[in-house]
C-alpha cells in the first residue's frame, strides 16, 4: 500500500537526521530508561512493606508494569500529539498538512514520530521475562501472537484517547492542561484495577479504558482466568476507541479555522 511505502521513507529520513545528532539520541534513550527505572523502584518500594496487594503479588505487579511498557512505548513513538494544538493549530502548520494528498493524521504521526521511545519495548520485555520467570509462567507457541494482538489493542486505546483529546484543538485553540493530566491518569492502568474503588474501576474500563493497556491484557499471561473476558476485549476496545477518535478527527478537520492571517 502507498502509505506503507511513505511510512518507510519517513522512517529512513528520520534515522538519517537522528544519526547526525548522535548525542541527542543517546541522551533521550538514557532519560527514558531512567524514567522507567524510577517507576519500577516505586513498585518495589510499595512491595517492600507488603507482599500482596488486593490479591496480586509483587512479581505479578512487576509483570503488569513490564507489559504496560510495550504498548505505551509504541504509542509514545508514533503519537506525539500532546502539543498538537500549539504546534499545528495556533502556529498554522495544519495549513501545510492539508495541502498534501495524504490523510492529515497520518502525516502528523509521521512528522512527530520519536523512534527512540521504542527502546521501551525492550525494557518492557526484559521486565516481563524477569517477572515471568520468577512466577514460573510458561509460554505456549501461540502466546507471542496473542501478545502482539493485545499490545496493538493497548496502543490503539492510548492513541484513541489522545487523538480524541487533540481534536479539541479544532474547536478551541485555548490552552488546556488536559494532556498532562491524561498522561497521569494513563499510569493508573498499570496497576490492578481491583485495588481502586468501583467508580475509578468503571472509568478505567469503559470511559478512559487505560486498564486495557496494562492490567487486563497482562492477566491473560498471568493466567488469571477471572479477567480473561476483559483480556480478549482489549483489541476490540482498542479498535473501537481508535475509530471513534479518527471519526472525531475527520469532523474536526472540517472545522479547522486556520491561523491568523
Amino acid at each position: 500500500m502507498e502509505y506503507i511505502s511513505i511510512f518507510f521513507q519517513y522512517v529512513g529520513q528520520y534515522l538519517k537526521t537522528r544519526l547526525t545528532y548522535r548525542a541527542d539520541m543517546i541522551v533521550e534513550i538514557f532519560s527514558d530508561l531512567l524514567f522507567q527505572a524510577v517507576n519500577l523502584v516505586f513498585i518495589l518500594v510499595v512491595f517492600g512493606h507488603t507482599n500482596l496487594l488486593a490479591g496480586w503479588s509483587k512479581d505479578e505487579m512487576i509483570f503488569i508494569y513490564g507489559f504496560f511498557l510495550v504498548p505505551f512505548s509504541i504509542f509514545a513513538s508514533f503519537f506525539n500529539i500532546w502539543d498538537f494544538t500549539d504546534r499545528y493549530i495556533v502556529k498554522g502548520e495544519m495549513d501545510r498538512i492539508l495541502t498534501r494528498p495524504v490523510h492529515s493524521l497520518f502525516q502528523i504521526v509521521l512528522e512527530r514520530m520519536e523512534l527512540e521511545s521504542l527502546f521501551g519495548v525492550v525494557t518492557g520485555l526484559v521486565v516481563m521475562f524477569y517477572a515471568g520467570d520468577k512466577l514460573g509462567l510458561e509460554i505456549s507457541w501461540y502466546d507471542p501472537f496473542i501478545f502482539i494482538l493485545l499490545v496493538i489493542g493497548g496502543a490503539l486505546v492510548y492513541a484513541g484517547i489522545f487523538i480524541a483529546l487533540a481534536t479539541i484543538g479544532f474547536w478551541s485553540d485555548s490552552r488546556t492542561d488536559i494532556m498532562p493530566m491524561m498522561y497521569n491518569i494513563g499510569n493508573y492502568g498499570r496497576y490492578p484495577v481491583d485495588i481502586y474503588n468501583k467508580v475509578i474501576k468503571y472509568v478505567l474500563t469503559w470511559i478512559l479504558p487505560f486498564a486495557f493497556v496494562g492490567v487486563y491484557p497482562s492477566s491473560y499471561f498471568l493466567e488469571r482466568e477471572e479477567w480473561y473476558t476483559y483480556a480478549f476485549l482489549t483489541p476490540v476496545v482498542g479498535i473501537v476507541f481508535f475509530l471513534i477518535a479518527v471519526t472525531l478527527w475527520n469532523v474536526g478537520v472540517t472545522k479547522y479555522r486556520g491561523a491568523g492571517n
Binding site: 502507498e2 511505502s5 511513505i6 521513507q9 519517513y10 529520513q13 538519517k16 537526521t17 498554522g92 502548520e93 495544519m94 495549513d95 501545510r96 492539508l98 495541502t99 498534501r100 494528498p101 495524504v102 490523510h103 472540517t254 472545522k255 479547522y256 479555522r257 486556520g258 492571517n261
Partner: protein, 338 residues
C-alpha cells in the same frame, strides 16, 4: 476553454467570541458569551480559465488568504459552490491536492533540518510521482531556478531568497496544472523577484499552468498578470484586465518641468492658455508640474509652447502608478467602469 476554477456565491463566516472588559465582564462571559460573526469572504463569484495568470489583490484582511484557503481545500466554506479542477476541494481533499501546487510565502513546505533534495524526495513519495516524470520535470525546474548548488544544504541554512526558490520547486514536483501563490515574493530582493517572475512566466507558457497569485507587490502583478481580481471587505470590487483598470483610473498625466531660469505662475499660465492645464509648483522654485489630460495633442502642445519660450534643464512625463490607482480605488471604495 474550460474553467479551471469556478466559484459561485462563496462565503466564509468566522464566529468569534468577544470578551467583555474587567473582572465583572469575565464573570459574565462564563455564563453568556458574546459571539460576533465576521464575514471574511462575502458572496464572491468568479471563474478562471486554463492557462490564465490572475492577480488576486486586496488590503490586509480583505479576504484574500481566506478565499485562497477555501480554494485549496484547507478551509470549509460556510456557503457557496467551489469547483476547482473539476472537484470540490474540501470534499475530495486528498485527491484534489494532487492537482494543485501551493506556495505560502510566510510558511515553509520544506523540512527544516534535512537537505533540500531529501525534502524533494519525501514530497515525490507523498505525491507518488513516477521516477521518470520526476527526473525530466525537476531537472528543468532546478536548472531554471538555479538551485542545483543548494540541493544538499539543509533548509535552515538557506537565505530567504534561496529558500523561496526551493519552495517554488517543491510546489511543482508533481507538475500541477494549477498553482496558488500567496505572497511569493515577500521580503525578497529585486533580482530574486525577477528570477521568480521569469520562472512563473516560463512554466505558464511551457505547461499551460494556471496561476493565481496574491501579492502586495503590484510590480509582480504588472509583470505577470493580465487580469486582476480585487477584493475589499470580503467582496470583489473589480475583476477584469489590469490594462482597463489603469485606463479608467489613470486619467491625466503630469509633466514636470525643471527650468534653468525662474518661472512664475502667471507666465506659465499665459503660455499654455489654449489648453486646460493646472500648474503647480514643485520641490523648488525652478520645478513646475503641469497636470493635463492624457491626450497626445495636449501633451505635445504644452511641451512645445513651454520649451519654445523657456530654457529647461529637465523634463519628465509622470504616469500615475498602479499603486496610486489602487490606493485611489480603496479611498473611493468602488470601481467605476469605463
Amino acid at each position: 476553454m474550460q474553467n479551471i476554477i469556478d466559484v459561485q456565491g462563496l462565503k466564509k463566516e468566522f464566529k468569534s467570541f468577544s470578551s467583555r472588559s474587567g473582572l465583572k465582564g469575565a464573570f459574565r462571559d462564563l455564563f453568556t458569551r458574546n459571539y460576533t460573526i465576521k464575514t471574511a469572504v462575502d458572496d464572491i463569484s468568479f471563474t478562471i480559465k486554463k492557462g490564465e495568470m490572475v492577480g488576486y489583490i486586496g488590503e490586509n484582511g480583505a479576504g484574500k488568504s481566506t478565499s485562497i484557503k477555501m480554494l485549496t481545500g484547507i478551509l470549509t466554506p460556510t456557503d457557496g459552490k467551489i469547483v476547482v479542477n473539476g472537484m470540490n476541494p474540501h470534499k475530495e481533499r486528498e485527491k484534489f491536492v494532487k492537482t494543485i501546487g501551493v506556495v505560502f510565502g510566510q510558511r515553509s513546505q520544506l523540512w527544516w533540518d534535512i537537505a533540500v533534495q531529501e525534502s524533494f524526495r519525501l514530497l515525490k513519495k507523498i505525491y507518488n510521482v513516477p521516477d521518470q516524470q520526476y527526473e525530466e520535470h525537476m531537472k528543468d525546474v532546478i536548472e531554471t531556478l538555479d538551485i542545483g548548488p543548494l540541493l544538499d544544504k539543509p533548509v535552515r541554512k538557506l537565505s530567504l531568497g534561496q529558500r523561496m526558490r526551493c519552495e517554488l520547486a517543491a510546489a511543482l514536483i508533481h507538475n500541477p496544472p494549477l498553482l496558488f501563490l500567496d505572497e511569493p515574493t515577500i521580503g525578497l530582493d529585486v533580482l530574486v523577484k525577477l528570477r521568480i517572475r521569469e520562472f512563473l512566466k516560463r512554466i505558464n507558457e511551457k505547461y499551460g499552468t494556471t496561476i493565481l497569485l496574491t501579492t502586495h507587490d503590484l510590480s509582480d502583478i504588472e509583470a505577470l498578470c493580465e487580469r486582476v481580481v480585487m477584493l475589499d471587505e470580503g467582496k470583489i470590487i473589480y475583476d477584469g484586465p489590469l490594462k482597463e483598470l489603469r485606463e479608467n483610473w489613470a486619467e491625466g498625466k503630469q509633466i514636470q518641468f525643471q527650468f534653468s531660469e525662474e518661472a512664475t505662475l502667471e507666465e506659465l499660465q499665459h503660455l499654455t492658455q489654449e489648453h486646460l492645464v493646472v500648474w503647480e509648483k514643485g520641490e523648488s522654485d525652478l520645478v513646475w508640474v503641469a497636470s493635463v489630460e492624457a491626450d497626445e495633442t495636449v501633451i505635445s502642445g504644452v511641451i512645445g509652447k513651454v520649451t519654445a519660450a523657456k530654457k529647461i534643464a529637465d523634463l519628465k512625463i509622470l504616469e500615475i502608478s498602479t499603486e496610486e490607482i489602487i490606493r485611489n480605488i480603496y479611498v473611493e471604495g468602488a470601481v467605476r467602469h469605463g
